[in-house]
């Protein structure tokens, strides 16, 4: 018997007012940095869920040298990796660069990430600099005087573990209740909306990647996999290197949106599972036992994918200046990819300036090798596979 059913008639019902405060005029600015790049849909969904109008959610623009110069100058407090350093400019742009002022600057402390490897790895933590970046950058705007208060902006920096969905409502309620005057119930509902939005978006992106992979398989054409952290999608951080490659006609797949379709996964990893090297397609303990860090785990997993998927004939590895999380992965990632005969090119120490000339020369070199070697790479990698990939097989039957 559920006692709650008896008690419910006597319980105080939440008033309508508590559940639906009017926040339609509140403008929220979010610095478009770091792991916001692959959780933005969650934050949009969440904010809409608590009644913020879509048009009042403002993201800062992509990272650029101009942005740093105009808005972030003098706000840095320590030398660190470029993606964190660049945050100062994003904060400044949201505080000083908006025609219509924002009321809240939301810069979450994301401790852990949702990941397709969840449950198969030790943990899904974010990089220690990435999770604490907001605390560091905030100090640059508060060390002399509180710039947020001066500009009548509420600074919100809720801590959250996005890989543990069940406790996120409490975390965001604790971190944001005073900012938005929230109730727990509406926070919980909004978190659900946020995760639904994120899942829907990720599925859509994976479907698009799947279409590319199938197309490559059916036409026996190569594609290029980008192994990088989510914020390398920022044109000021990743410098659109993959776009230059795409311009030469090679389809690009980002590792963050690689499809996790069971048929494809089993096809790629069935031999490793049979040999008991791994327990599932998402298990990376054979190449990376210290699987604590979400983005790092995915990098290693993507390298394994690249080593097995026949039509990925080239990997582009992007890494930012002074990235401590990337550093121990350099050799393992390269070895995983190159042991399979797949081409591997790394663009390291990327910072604020795009070295256009050298990027162009390197892209031309990459294109040359991809053009020259793809056919033989595909052939060799296909020869390693015991079976045909079902979509290709089905196509052949038709």
């Amino acid at each position: 018997m559920n006692i709650q059913t008896l008690l419910t008639p006597f319980a105080r019902k939440p008033s309508k007012e508590l559940l639906s405060k009017d926040r339609s005029t509140v403008r929220v600015g979010i610095p478009k940095v770091l792991n916001i790049w692959n959780t933005h849909q969650f934050w949009i969904g969440f904010l809409e869920g608590i009644g913020i109008k879509y048009t009042n959610i403002v993201f800062s623009s992509n990272t650029s040298e101009e942005q740093s110069r105009e808005f972030g100058k003098g706000r840095g407090t320590v030398d660190c990796c470029y993606p964190v350093k660049a945050m100062s400019g994003h904060y400044g742009e949201l505080i000083f660069g908006q025609k219509k002022k924002i009321n809240v600057l939301l810069s979450p402390l994301i401790y852990s990430m949702p990941s397709s490897l969840q449950g198969h790895v030790v943990a899904n933590n974010t990089c220690t600099r990435v999770m604490a970046g907001a605390e560091n950058i905030k100090s640059g705007y508060m060390k002399e005087k509180d710039v947020f208060v001066e500009n009548q902006i509420k600074y919100a920096s809720p801590y959250c573990t996005l890989d543990d969905r069940i406790i996120v409502p409490q975390q965001l309620f604790d971190g944001l209740k005073d900012i938005f005057d929230l109730t727990y119930e509406e926070t919980k509902k909004a978190v659900e909306i946020g995760f639904n939005a994120l899942d829907t978006f990720n599925k859509k992106m994976q479907k698009q990647s799947m279409d590319i992979l199938e197309q490559c398989a059916k036409t026996n054409k190569p594609c290029v996999l980008v192994i990088a952290r989510p914020y390398h999608m920022d044109t000021g951080i990743g410098h659109e290197i993959e776009t230059d490659l795409q311009a030469h006609g090679y389809p690009i797949v980002w590792m963050q949106y690689f499809p996790t379709d069971p048929t494809l996964m089993n096809w790629l990893f069935e031999e490793d599972i049979k040999e008991k090297q791994i327990k599932s397609p998402f298990d990376i303990s054979d190449v990376w036992p210290s699987s604590y860090s979400s983005n790092t785990n995915e990098i290693l997993w993507a390298a394994k994918i690249a080593a097995r998927f026949p039509w990925i004939t080239c990997v582009i590895r992007l890494s930012s200046y002074e990235c401590g999380m990337d550093q121990p992965t350099f050799t393992p990632t390269q070895k995983i990819v190159e042991n399979s005969g797949t081409l591997f090119f790394k663009f390291g120490d990327l910072d604020s300036t795009k070295p256009s000339g050298s990027v162009r020369i390197r892209v031309e070199t990459i294109v040359h090798y991809v053009k020259k070697n793809s056919a033989s790479i595909i052939e060799k990698k296909l020869a390693r596979m015991k079976t045909q990939w079902p979509p290709v097989k089905a196509e052949a039957l038709v």
Binding site: T77, V78, D79, C80, V84, L109, Y111, A123, N125, T126, C127, T128, R129, M131, A132, G133, E135, N136, I137, K138, S139, G140, M142, K143, S157, Y159, I166, I167, Q170, Q171, D272, Q277, S285, D286, V287, W288, P289, S290, Y292, S293, T296, A307, R308, E322, C323, G324, M325, Q327, P328, T329, F330, T331, P332, I336, N339, S340, G341, K380, A383, R384
Partner: protein, 546 residues
């Protein structure tokens, strides 16, 4: 042609029980004192164990050659240290012996920081010197009972874990004694000699731990360590020995609190430019960072995680209570051992206090490295007048530390008087780092001297009076005497305040005894005069500061 097999990560061969008697377990990463005591705990359980040699600059060079570019300096140093040791063994005993007769044992589980990924650097270095078959074991730093490692040669059970933890705690306590004494020793070098003897006393205590009598039940083993007098009795022996060191604490020395990244702050050697030693030579008293605080910090994380889940998971409240009990027991044990040493070693700060102090600047849930602790510790020392300056040792390219150093900008904005020296350590830029530290140290020295002079005036104290007290109360010149914290950062200032309080009591005592036997208390003329006229001329000092 057969295709190249897919890449596989390093996996050690099993270490079997049969191999235990012929295999030397290597370990390191702490100070020589901690390591010697840990060795005692290993020997007690019939393991052959040996700490790696202390870090040298040559280890940095070796490490740089063998691992991926851009590693943090603790990774480079420790990797190079292991490699150089193995190279030496390979030369002396041959490759087979280096691979089969030794195994490396370290903590390798952390989380967000690269510390959790040392394994890859080590294995890459082993590849580089052709010793991939060498066995390394990486254990979790948060579990007491991890069971048999593969092969069963190494049993990470309660007797081993308690041995190691107790060795760490006692290593910390003796390190506190060492750093409180050496700057004030009257006979140069005496502290180091006595320290070595004391470490040997404790090594024997660990080696002869009556583990056979208590082995079998893990809770019984833990209970014995907590409640028995075995270690506290040994520590009383230590403090008796410590008493023989003569000190003069009536000196103005800046108190420098060391904080920073775990390895770098704990280390004593080339890895951090011997900065603690250097600071002492520059006239400072160093407050060393205890490993015990780090262990306390680690215990907070499961507590926070459980607290978050208490409305979600069943049985969480019970686990929270158990963990809180464990933390209390941990503090109680540490304090009990401190009491055996006249409470000379510093008390562990409350983690709650550190988190609360740091809260406006750094969220306490952000772990990886030392998180909010660096901010909390610096503020704790400043606001409670425990140190004149804080020296934070940050490894070059350390990820978590750079974040808290950045957040410290905000703290310094609020507290501009806080003397804070964040020193980035690369391992090969000594002059730059030390000169940077010296700039802040100069200001700390000025403050220490000013504070000392003010206290001397306030307490109406003169060098002659100090000498007089020393002759009448020789126990104040014993290194085992605890100088209470009387509100000043400097030991000298606290010492003078304490003496001024004592002087009043002593004067009264002399008044009583003088009526019966008015004999001089010292041979020297000046002091005889002081003693003879004391009942008439010397006023009890006015205590303007309590």
């Amino acid at each position: 042609m057969e295709p190249t097999p897919h890449y596989k990560a390093y996996k050690p061969k099993p270490f079997t029980k049969e191999q235990r008697k012929d295999t030397t377990l290597l370990f390191g990463g702490l100070t020589w004192k901690h390591e010697r005591l840990i060795q005692g705990a290993f020997h007690n359980l019939n393991y052959k164990a040996e700490p790696l040699p202390n870090i040298t600059r040559a280890d940095l060079d070796t490490g740089k050659e063998l691992i991926d570019v851009g590693a943090c300096c603790p990774t480079i140093f420790t990797t190079g240290n292991l490699v150089n040791y193995l190279k030496k063994k390979k030369e002396e005993e041959g490759k087979e012996a280096a691979v089969n007769d030794y195994a490396y044992f370290t903590m390798g589980a952390c989380g967000p920081c690269r510390f959790g990924q040392y394994r890859e650097s080590y294995s890459m270095a082993l590849d580089g010197i052709g010793l991939r078959d060498f066995r390394m074991f990486f254990l979790s730093q948060t579990e007491l009972n991890q069971g048999d490692q593969e092969g069963g040669g190494l049993e990470v059970n309660m007797p081993l874990t308690t041995g190691i933890v107790w060795a760490i705690l006692i290593g910390d306590l003796l390190t506190d004694l060492e750093f409180q004494t050496r700057p004030y020793e009257v006979v140069p070098g005496q502290t180091n000699i006595v320290l070595k003897e004391c470490i040997e006393i404790m090594y024997q205590a660990f080696k002869n731990r009556p583990i056979d009598k208590i082995k079998g039940n893990k809770w019984l083993t833990l209970g014995w360590h907590v409640v028995s007098n075995y270690f506290t009795d040994a520590l009383k022996e230590v403090i008796a020995k410590w008493k023989t060191i003569e000190v003069n604490k009536a000196q103005a020395k800046p108190m420098v609190k060391i904080t920073g990244e775990f390895w770098l702050q704990t280390h004593e050697g080339d890895g951090n430019y011997n900065i603690k030693d250097w600071l002492e030579k520059e006239g400072a008293e160093v407050i060393p960072p205890p490993v015990a605080v780090w262990l306390d910090y680690l215990m907070q994380f499961p507590l926070h995680a459980l607290n978050e889940r208490k409305n979600v998971d069943k049985g969480t409240k019970k686990k929270i209570l158990m963990l809180k009990g464990m933390i209390k027991m941990y503090h109680w044990t540490y304090n009990r051992m401190r009491k055996s040493l006249n409470e000379m070693p510093y008390e562990m700060p409350s983690q709650k206090t550190l988190a609360e102090l740091a809260a406006p600047y750094f969220n306490f849930r952000l772990d990886g490295g030392e998180g909010h602790m660096l901010i909390g510790k610096a503020l704790y020392a400043y606001l409670n007048n425990k140190a004149h300056m804080t020296c934070e040792l940050t490894p070059y390219s350390c990820m978590p530390n750079t974040m808290s150093v950045g957040a410290m900008a905000n703290v310094r904005g609020k507290y501009p008087e806080l003397l804070y020296a964040p020193i980035e350590i690369k391992g090969d830029a000594e002059i730059h780092a030390l000169s940077r530290c010296q700039m802040i140290l100069t200001e700390a020295k000025k403050r220490a001297l000013k504070e000392y002079d003010e206290v001397m005036k306030k307490c109406n104290m003169t060098p002659e009076k100090l000498e007089w007290i020393a002759l009448n109360a020789p126990e104040y010149k014993e290194a085992s005497f605890k100088v209470p914290h009387n509100g000043y950062a400097g030991t000298g200032a606290n010492y003078i305040t304490m003496l001024s309080q004592y002087k009043g009591k002593l004067t009264k005592t002399l008044k009583k005894t003088a009526t019966v036997t008015p004999k001089p208390i010292a041979a020297e003329t000046v002091l005889t005069e002081v003693a003879a006229t004391e009942t008439v001329t010397v006023q009890e000092p006015e205590l303007t500061y309590a």
